[in-house]
């Protein structure tokens, strides 16, 4: 029944035997206990489960774990520095109050990091368009937009 999978998660090699129907989000949360990756919907819209797969933002609840065989995965737990210091994008979210309940936040930060990689100087419109895969119900996005702008600037500097 089980199939073997192996991948690198936040720099560490992991291997497990899983049921084929295990979603990547489920694998991260339940097998690896990396619960920062959240699940907010079942149709792939909310983006709370956004992680990086081989350097690109994807929705971990919209992937079979097996599809990530051999991949390099980064989750929200792998973003801050080893000593715990926040990444400039995380710090910008705190500075601008870009989060309230915190549930969409990990996905939002992961999406923002990918956005800035593509567009190092994003305009407000580009940020709003670039976050089309993430829902936030608390902030009205106003402060998220400001945070991403500040985070982008800090990442260059």
């Amino acid at each position: 029944m089980g199939i073997p999978v192996s991948m690198t998660v936040n720099g560490k090699a992991v291997a497990a035997e899983i049921e084929p129907r295990t979603l990547l989000a489920q694998f991260l949360r339940e097998h690896l206990r990396l619960t920062g990756t959240h699940v907010g919907c079942d149709t792939g819209q909310c983006g709370a489960c956004t992680i990086h797969l081989n350097g690109r933002a994807v929705k971990a609840c919209n992937l079979l774990t097996a599809q990530a065989q051999g991949a390099q995965i980064v989750t929200i737990e792998g973003v801050a520095a080893a000593n715990g210091e926040l990444h400039p994008m995380q710090a910008a979210f705190r500075q601008h109050h870009g989060l309230q309940c915190g549930f969409c936040t990990p996905g939002m930060v992961m999406a923002a990091l990918d956005l800035v990689k593509r567009q190092p100087n994003p305009t407000e419109d580009a940020i709003r368009a670039g976050l089309d895969g993430n829902l936030c119900r608390c902030t009205g996005y106003h402060n998220i937009v400001k945070a991403v702008q500040t985070g982008a600037a800090a990442m260059k500097g």
């Binding site: 149709t43 929200i76 109050h97 709003r128 089309d132 402060n143």
Partner: protein, 791 residues
Amino acid sequence: MNAPVIGTRVERKEDYRFLTGSGTYTDDVALPGQTCAYFLRSQHAHAKINRIDISKAKTAPGVIEVFTGADLPGSVGGLPCGWLITDVNGQPMKEPKHPLLAQGKVRYVGDHVAVVIAETLNQAKDACELIEVDYEVLPAVVNVADARKPGAAQVHDIAPDNTCYVWALGDKTAVDKAFAQAAHVTKLDFINNRLIPNAIEPRAAVASYSRGDDSYTLYVTSQNPHVARLLMTAFVLGLPEHKLRVIAPDVGGGFGSKIFLYAEETVLTWASKQVNRPIKWTAERSESFVSDAHGRDHLTSAELALDKNGGFLALRVHTTANMGAYLSTFASCIPTILYATLLAGQYTTPAIYCEVTAVFTNTAPVDAYRGAGRPEASYVIERLVSTAAREMKIPDADIRRRNFIKEFPYQTPVALCYDTGDYEATLTEALKLADVAGFEARRKEAAARGKLRGLGYSAYIEACGLAPSNVAGSLGARAGLFEAGEVRVHPTGKVTVFTGSHSHGQGHETTFAQVVADRLGLGVDDVDIVHGDTGRILFGMGTYGSRSIAVGGTAIVKALDKIVAKGKRIAAHLLEAPDADIEFKDGKFTVAGTDRQVPFAQVALSAYVPHHYPLDKLEPGLNESAVYDPTNFTFPAGSHICEVEVDPDTGATKIVNFTAVDDFGKTINPMIVEGQVHGGLAQGIGQALLEACVYDRETGQLLTGTYLDYAVPRADDLPSFKVTTRETPCTHNPLGVKGCGEAGAIGAPAAVINAIVDALAHLGIRDIEMPATPQRVWQALQSAKKERIAT
């Protein structure tokens, strides 16, 4: 000393854990031996259950137990409603039993039929499909407008005509008289669209039972764990209250939907003892859509009577409100106590009459959703006012100014007494910030591009800080509405505060710490706020109705007063001075008029190491609690101005500017306050432009059951907002605060629709139903075109 932090933009203490993925939400809890639950839900809106066969499910792989309504002992009650409404005839509202698992009938799509408990979630779901239910499908009544029609299906035998109650407020005779003398009457019919709250964290629960001490622990996504415990133990399961600990850990947004006691966590708690293992249930989003309590869903007919100068004479409102299939925890008070009482708005309308008919339908229960009753009231008033202004050719700002309440306290004709406010000030500031003066030029510029611009106003008021318990009680509340707080000063002078308020995004860990830090002269990092655990906190009524800082914050202030009073007595002993001579300021106790002083931390240490201590007069330790019951509601108010651009070719509306000037009294942390406003505006704009919960009118199937059909606003649906505040301090709490959580959702819908109507009014369009989707706007334009051709 530490600089004062009240009124400053302190970065949030809770953010580090949320930003690093180290928060603990209910679904993150994993207990040893944990099992998974999955609920079988009705696919029918209304059906008789002839038979349920669980035999195949019970023997499916991994299944531990399967329970149906028949397994619940007779001693288990239904989910209670916390507010008794008495109808126009003095009779109590109809309260049908709200079973945890269906008893012979299902009454909405999503109703709970059975629960499967298995080793894994997939096994529970697989087994659920093996349960055979023999349904006899019955006709359903779905739409609020159909509920009382002759021949409509009956949801409950005990509620003829599907009527829960007919309730009224105000002086009908005075209103009728005023209408007879009016120079102008403006009449509108409204649908206040049904909404699905959609906190991004789905509801979840983990229940466990300890046979060793016969006690239960429940982790649950709740805005008010103590209320959940009280209702669950005393009214449903009949358990001793002290044997259940309810923990609401990090909660990912609530907006009202997590106030209520639901079947799922209640069944889990009961079942955890039956299977003697922990059980987890987390809603899939599709389950949230069908089973979270929905919001709004009013059908209203409203009329405003005016004199020839645009002065308001009277307001008459008839509303039918949908309760859904059962009464959720606070359902009955939303369209009554939290709605009709707000119909004076910011105006001196001398006579108001409102009649509300609450009906049952075969839909999910409807209860409080951000604003809860107040957005509906504000929408009625502000749409009428702008429509009257247009009809009487009076500018929007002028008609409002002409009717603003200017003297306080002000007793409205609908029971409330406003303590303070300055509506002129918020409106004037909003006009400036929105650059209303430049609007005509912008309208012309847009017209040159083939686009229609409009400007919409909304001057809302809300009653927050729920509530004086005795007033609420006299209106039917079955619980108190105070709040508890406890301040525990540790021997080193660091402080832990326990509050009955619950933060699920509001940032209490920071704002409450700011209050405490300032009072005790400490740094924000010297203070930790604990909430959401009945095992650690004295008591609590929780967070909703923008009540946390006004009620919960005041309870903490009262406890702080006691800390300072006791501290003074300890300091007096240490300084060998009379108690009355001790002053406390900037973290130091000082003998008045001298430089003899002792710092707060030293007093704290003395309290715990009472070697030199007035043991004959004082107990050691420095820990105080207080329970605060407010003397009045608070009345946040403000002016919102929305500017839209409509594309007449597609009907698409774009919000190009949104300005909100709000008066929340004193603000503790302006950054957090602005964030609350932004979020409220997004939900208010969502209601106006995007969101609609739609059921099939015949079958009762939910047609908007995923994010593919229910439009929650995304980043590019919204503009950046212009937000600022004016302060008239609340007169009856020590912090002068009013609350800010719901304002955006209350003010925004009318501003948006008024703006769209303003953009289209020259074409003869006078109303657009919410949500004003592109298709609706386009259709309105088409009908207007046809009418113009016909005439």
